[in-house]
């Protein structure tokens, strides 16, 4: 199988197929099904400054072609993560892409400093699931400025690592936020986190989740994610890492055409650990049929409709 190396800021990855945060644990839980070195990177479960017990059950509910989750960022905390979880993944040949989330600038600074001490960490993803900022004046712009500040705080402490900012789709204009990340010095943006939704348990006559709101993932959100990736890739110069509903090689090809540099497999891994192999084979075959040497050649120009017919000319680098 061909590997397609990708460069994101200072970091190089053996291939553009990553596991999404929260969908691959700390990297070894799935090892009987997917060896961590088969993935370009493992974006590990988001860790926070302190351990979190997460929300009460139920935490999951299937919806049409989707999955609602209300996990509540249950995690061991950054210290236990660095002590117990990081080394085993590296030893197993995995490439950790460490996901972090915090509530204040100080916490972000402290977390970034802790990560900086670990040279085996090549890349860090900042999970801005829901930018939680004061809203004085124009809220979107305020959020974009907050994104910029958080990015800078983290990147300043990790100049030689890839810092990627993961964005929520639950805003009027995600491109605003992506530009904020770019301004702040991010090496990439990751789009998208889950879409907010809810469910109601009609037998019990109450919202299914104690916190009512939950995050929707899975194929249902793929068209939403694809548009966000297309819009961001058209607006920033840094790489976009695409995530949201990937269920086939064709979905991955669409993300590459929309301008993604790498992709993350999420919810579908739960039911179909063979998805990674399917994606690798499917993309390789698609490229081979068009004598293209790298998925990045799939990126569409924005000039408008492309030539139909000759596959090679149909695709502009």
């Amino acid at each position: 199988m061909s590997e397609y190396p990708v460069q994101i800021g200072p970091a190089r990855f053996a291939n553009p197929y990553f596991a999404a945060s929260g969908c691959f644990g700390y990297g070894l839980e799935y090892r009987d099904f997917i060896r961590p070195d088969e993935l370009g990177a493992v974006v590990t479960k988001t860790v926070t400054p302190l351990p979190r017990a997460g929300n009460s059950v139920p935490r999951l509910q299937e919806t049409p072609a989707g999955l609602l989750n209300s996990i509540g960022l249950q995690n061991v905390g950054i210290e236990a993560y660095l002590r117990d979880k990081l080394a085993p993944l590296v030893e197993a040949g995995g490439t950790p892409f460490v996901s972090i989330a915090a509530e204040t600038m100080e916490e972000y600074a402290r977390m970034a400093a802790l990560l900086a001490d670990h040279p085996s960490i090549r890349a860090v993803e900042v999970n801005l699931g829901c930018p939680n900022v004061d809203t004085g004046g124009d809220r979107d712009a305020a959020e974009a400025r907050a994104v910029e500040r958080i990015t800078r705080v983290v990147k300043d402490r990790l100049p030689d690592r890839a810092v990627a900012i993961k964005l929520t789709p639950n805003v009027t204009d995600i491109v605003h936020l992506a530009r904020g990340a770019e301004q702040g010095g991010a090496d990439a943006v990751v789009a998208i986190n889950t879409v907010v939704g809810m469910d109601i348990d009609i037998a019990r006559a109450r919202p299914t989740f104690a916190r009512v709101r939950a995050g929707l993932s899975g194929p249902a959100i793929f068209p939403i994610a694809l548009l966000k990736v297309w819009e961001i890739a058209g607006a920033v110069r840094i790489p976009v890492i695409a995530v949201g509903g990937i269920a086939s090689a064709n979905d991955v090809i669409k993300f590459f055409m929309a301008g993604a540099t790498a992709v993350q497999l999420g919810t579908l891994l739960f039911s179909r650990p063979t998805l990674l192999a399917e994606v690798k084979a499917g993309v390789a075959e698609f490229l081979a049929a068009r004598t293209l040497d790298h998925p990045h050649r799939l990126r569409l120009s924005r000039a408008g409709a492309l030539e139909v017919g000759d596959p090679a000319s149909a695709i502009l680098g």
Binding site: G22, C23, F24, G25, E29, Y30, D32, K45, A53, G54, S56, V57, P58, R59, L60, Q61, E62, A65, G66, L67, N69, I71, Q74, G218, P219, T267, L268, L269, F270, S271, R272
Partner: protein, 236 residues
């Protein structure tokens, strides 16, 4: 080879659904495994609606299963409804042991319809059915039946280990009723699952260790390890 109390994730193939559903392993032999699927919702209805030869997506055996060593003291297996599935498998394995422990199976349901004695065919252990409406066996819940049985055992009750699988409310009531009387109670918990391997953190319960995935740290827990032993906080 799987262990009694382990489960697999199943989904008809193709399916209208996204997430595989956990099912206890009910039996296994050379090249086959069986499951008892109760059609409670769309994905289980798909499974029971499969034609002979229909395909199923299926994971390897997952979870801890019941304790590897049980006995020589006597065991009570208390099953409510489809919770009987892993207990059947456990009884089969125990019966296959040379000089295995004494095993009795308490199998409760609302009424005779819900107590599928066929599912226990071929077991040598004593089977004590109970129904809420008295239409089969003991008139009352399997919890009542268990308390009744232990009372009759007198002092010997303290040597019993109880292993239970069924609706959470039933298991909670059972635990509350008997944990002071017997040596140990093991419960097999249910919760909505997605990954089955401790990754998604969807299926947790609180134990002395913290909030842990049921799919990896369980589904079988020592009752006394569970913080929410009232179990009423569980979803199911």
């Amino acid at each position: 080879m799987s262990r009694p109390g382990q489960f697999a994730l199943l989904l008809a193939h193709p399916s209208l659904h996204l997430v595989r559903r956990p099912m206890s392993i009910h039996d296994e032999g050379d090249g086959w495994r069986s499951y008892m699927v109760k059609p409670v919702g769309p994905a289980t209805r798909e499974l029971v609606g499969l034609a002979v030869g229909g395909q199923v997506d299926i994971s390897p055996p997952l979870g801890n299963g019941f304790p590897r060593v049980l006995g020589p003291d006597p065991l009570l297996l208390v099953g409510g409804g489809f919770g009987i599935a892993p207990l059947y498998f456990l009884a089969r394995r125990l019966e296959a042991q040379a000089a295995g422990p004494e095993v009795r199976i308490l199998y409760g349901g609302r009424s005779a319809r819900d107590v599928e004695l066929d599912a226990l065919a071929g077991l040598r252990s004593e089977i004590l059915p109970s129904t809420d409406d008295g239409s089969l066996g003991f008139h009352g819940t399997c919890v009542d039946r268990c308390v009744d049985l232990l009372r009759r055992e007198g002092k010997r009750a303290a040597r019993f280990t109880v292993l239970t699988c069924g609706p959470h409310a039933m298991m909670a009531a059972l635990y509350r009723a008997v944990h002071g009387l017997v040596h140990e109670v093991y419960v097999s918990l249910e919760e909505i699952m997605a990954c089955g391997v401790g990754v998604c953190m969807g299926c947790v319960t609180r134990t002395g260790e913290g909030t842990v995935p049921i799919c990896t740290h369980g589904p079988v827990f020592r009752g006394s390890d569970l913080v929410d032993i009232a179990l009423e906080t569980g979803h199911v």
